[in-house]
Symmetry: C2
Subunit: 243 residues, 2 copies
């Protein structure tokens, strides 16, 4: 049975009225976190319109962070955002568990390489200085939510390449090297995810994301690590306190 939309007052475009109806159903809890929405074809029929218009409505809800898509499996309701304070020493896993989520970390790659001009500019290293690159992917409730490139100062952290990176990096540095990260420079901006990050997260190129870069030094001001994080835009809320 079609919804009473196509026949309603046309005060706003059809795709926004479809959006509002879907949003209402989500808020009423008729569909809840991680539940699949009806298919685009079914929605188009239900609202007596075409797939193009149904997709416009879905794109709106996706942009607002209310729903997300998974591969070609369909559209799902987004769970609450993870609260994340990038200024603090940080265990992704502890933080997720505290918020009632199931975290998982995959180490995609560990490789010795040298600093690019871009990295040198960000860190104060010289171009060509040795660094260890660690690429990780992190999940919440089995949904991949971020990929990151970590560049470690290998001169300052001998033997770092041999450790297990599926655990908290901050704890590793503290326990194995007695390094405290006390100086941080953090940069954040919203942007679309493109390859290779989009592929790594199994989303389409152009999916909205948040890029978080963090440059950390020890108490003496020596560069320790640079972290480049690519988050799906609907999965996090940044919180920072200044005292």
């Amino acid at each position: 049975m079609p919804e009473n939309i196509a026949t309603s007052e046309a005060g706003s475009p059809l795709y926004l009225r479809v959006r509002d109806q879907l949003a209402e159903q989500i808020e009423r809890g008729e569909v809840t976190a991680n539940i699949k929405l009806p298919s685009e074809r079914v929605l188009a029929e239900r609202f007596e319109t075409t797939r193009v218009t149904a997709r416009l409505a879905l794109a709106q809800l996706e942009a607002e962070g209310r729903i997300y898509r998974s591969n070609r499996r369909g559209w799902f309701v987004s769970p609450p955002r993870l609260i994340y304070n990038p200024t603090e020493d940080y265990s992704f896993s502890d933080n997720a568990v505290t918020q009632g989520r199931l975290p998982r970390t995959e180490t995609l790659e560990v490789r010795c390489t040298v600093a690019s001009a871009w990295l040198a500019g960000k860190t104060g290293l010289e171009t060509g200085d040795p660094v260890v690159l660690v690429r990780r992917r992190r999940y919440l409730d089995e949904r991949p939510v971020l990929v990151e490139n970590i560049y470690l100062n290998s001169r300052h952290l001998p033997g770092i390449k041999g450790f297990d990176f599926n655990r908290s990096l901050w704890k590793l540095l503290r326990d194995q090297y007695s390094v405290d990260l006390v100086q941080k420079k953090i940069e954040m901006f919203p942007t679309a995810l493109v390859d290779p990050q989009a592929s790594a997260l199994s989303v389409n190129a152009g999916t909205a994301g948040l890029c978080v870069n963090r440059c950390s030094r020890d108490a003496a001001g020596v560069f320790v690590e640079f972290d480049e994080e690519f988050w799906l835009h609907d999965t996090l809320s940044i919180q920072v306190n200044v005292a």
Copy 2:
């Protein structure tokens, strides 16, 4: 003369190849900041495709923050992002000028009201406590880039309603009330802009944005102001230092 795209290897979807060609032209400087792109119909013809596909390519570049649209006037190349540190006492104007931009502030509304339950939860006020609401819109080079709702503790700031809000709020508090904002709690998350913020910025509902909330207190911990900012996503880069 059509670009050599439709005939090129179809390793990726057409709209991504169109995106790449346009991105290249932007990077080569053939079109630069605030320059208008060819119309969607011209692009469709040039790349031997339809408007729908051309719009997909443009939407990609918009999501990446490379271009933006202005009403029904066309698509324009985005200028560099404004670097913004929300943890510091902050003059929008000074910051913009330092970065070579032309700032402007409009006060849309100044109104006495009372704290909602939502605001009470964010600030520690009681629901119903008196506050002054200031709504402002801010421009960079005559492009509106953010709207904000400022809630001021009117008990703590007698007579605040009478001042000029087109200048820096922080300077106003310092000069007129000798208040230093030393405790701040900041929250940021990417989301789509919807009405009324979208209308206030003359963009379509669903345009990508960044919401920045800031709760500031004085040295004694008394609530002074809560600021709710809605930025266009391609206009800013957040930078924070932790020492």
